[in-house]
Amino acid sequence: MQDVAVVGVGLHRFGKTGDDVVGNKSVTELCRIAVERALKDAGVSWRDIQAVSAASSRFSGGKGWGLNGNDVVEEMGSTGIPVYNLSAGCAAGGNAFNVGYSLVAGGVYDMVLVVGGEVMPKGMIQTSGVEEATDPEFLRQRCVGMPGPSFWATLARRRMHDYGTTEEQMARVTVKARKCSVGNPYARFQKEVSLEDVLKSPYVSNPLRLFEICPVSNGAAAAVICSAKRARQLTRQPVLVASSAVATIGFDDALPRSLAVPVPNGPSRHTEVYAAVTRAFEAAGVGPRDLSFVELQDNTCYYELAFPEEWGLCQPGEAERLHAAGETLPTGRMPVNPSGGFVSFGEATTAMGVFQICELTWQLRGESGARQVPGAKLGLAQTNGLGGNATAAILKR
């Protein structure tokens, strides 16, 4: 195994179809812009890329088969390089990074491009595309009608029961997330919102409100990764990948993700996320309290409270107090999502895992401006997606 570095990153600012930011750009165009920026940032040319690890989109491009990596190669110039198209729901970007990392770490290639992008349809994501009685997602939607936000709302409601979390405390997480986004040139939303704004926004799924749930966005992200040896020829201080891990759901998960599960004896938690993050800690030889900051998948404010506890960054039930004390801000003791997170970017589903790598890289280089975590040395990126997929990566300088 050889050490792996991130030498170049690039984002296309996130936006909504028809706005001034993304207009009617295709997913391939969004990806091309992100890739060009990542190549420029790395100081390499397209011909230096030996393979592409791409997130497969269910929603746009990819010739309807999730071949989004092939679209990118055609657009950039068909050099005949191998393309890996990875599908893992909302974790696909994280999966693409893991596969790219593994290929470089294993010495198969010396320089790989990781890319993900989306042009999303409007409204709530329809979780299943098929109408078959053998498909559990179809059954859940037809027989019950439980869209994604209701799953999150159920977890939020349970937290309110377990720890006495109030709707105001959850709303304050959104206020903090949007505060971080101010001055982030890539965020879709770059304006603060007040507590009153959040609490006045309508329920999408009680107890969660419109401003507490990330919308869908269009956007793209790219990263050039290579061996640490090659990286040192390109830059004096490369950002290194301390670890990259992938995991899937455990049998004893017990969260209401499908129609039914056995009533558990132990805790109900995101087993795939816990497994990925734990493996990333072990492989990097670090613990949760060594992190300078995390970029976690905040589809809703609930996750900014629950995930740090599930991973041991703080004690169970402690997150609300840390938020109130400002400890999750970039300047706090446990910075969470200094980028502004999914709540400020909106979710361009398969781009998200790569977007997090971009933010980690900028933070570790000290290039994050107003949202910079002072002295950031070690950052964790985490995604999870449909099917019980999760990824975690730890980057260091």
């Binding site: 109408e131 009685a133 027989c143 019950v144 009608g145 209701s150 039914a260």
Partner: protein, 137 residues
């Protein structure tokens, strides 16, 4: 067909002798499954031995949420859309299952006792279609 209409998906539940969900149980490790499975999913189970089992009766609400907006297809609902509670219920028979509540929006609370019922989900071409739901006891 029960008084609440045709099953929205056939073969998943019955209302013949009270509301029952039709599933399976592994007789080696005792894991309950709904809907039916053809192999025990428990990785620690030594041998998959599945027998038909049905589930229903009493349970308690583990948590719940509200569908404040109409879910997208393939969900079907009557118009105008009426928000409903989605409960996650731990049945006494060992199954944690999701379902709509027949009661009003302010009737749900974590830990509250409920029972499984069959109730109308939507109408189409003059025909009622049913699903399983929960009712406060």
């Amino acid at each position: 067909m029960s008084e609440h209409g045709k099953a929205c998906v056939p073969g998943l539940f019955t209302d013949d002798n009270g509301a029952r969900l039709l599933g399976t149980r592994c007789s080696t490790c005792n894991t309950p499954y709904f809907p039916k499975v053809t192999r025990c999913h428990n990785p620690r189970c030594s041998e998959s031995r599945l027998v038909d089992a049905s589930f229903g009766g009493r349970g308690t609400i583990w948590s719940y949420s509200v569908a404040d907006f109409a879910p997208p297809p393939p969900h079907k609902h009557d118009k105008p859309f009426k928000p409903y509670v989605i409960a996650v219920v731990d049945l006494d028979e060992g199954l944690r299952i999701v379902g709509q509540m027949v009661d009003g929006l302010d009737q749900a609370s974590v830990g509250a006792p409920v029972t499984l019922v069959i109730d109308t989900l939507y109408h189409e071409d003059g025909q009622a279609y049913s699903t399983w739901k929960f009712k406060r006891i």
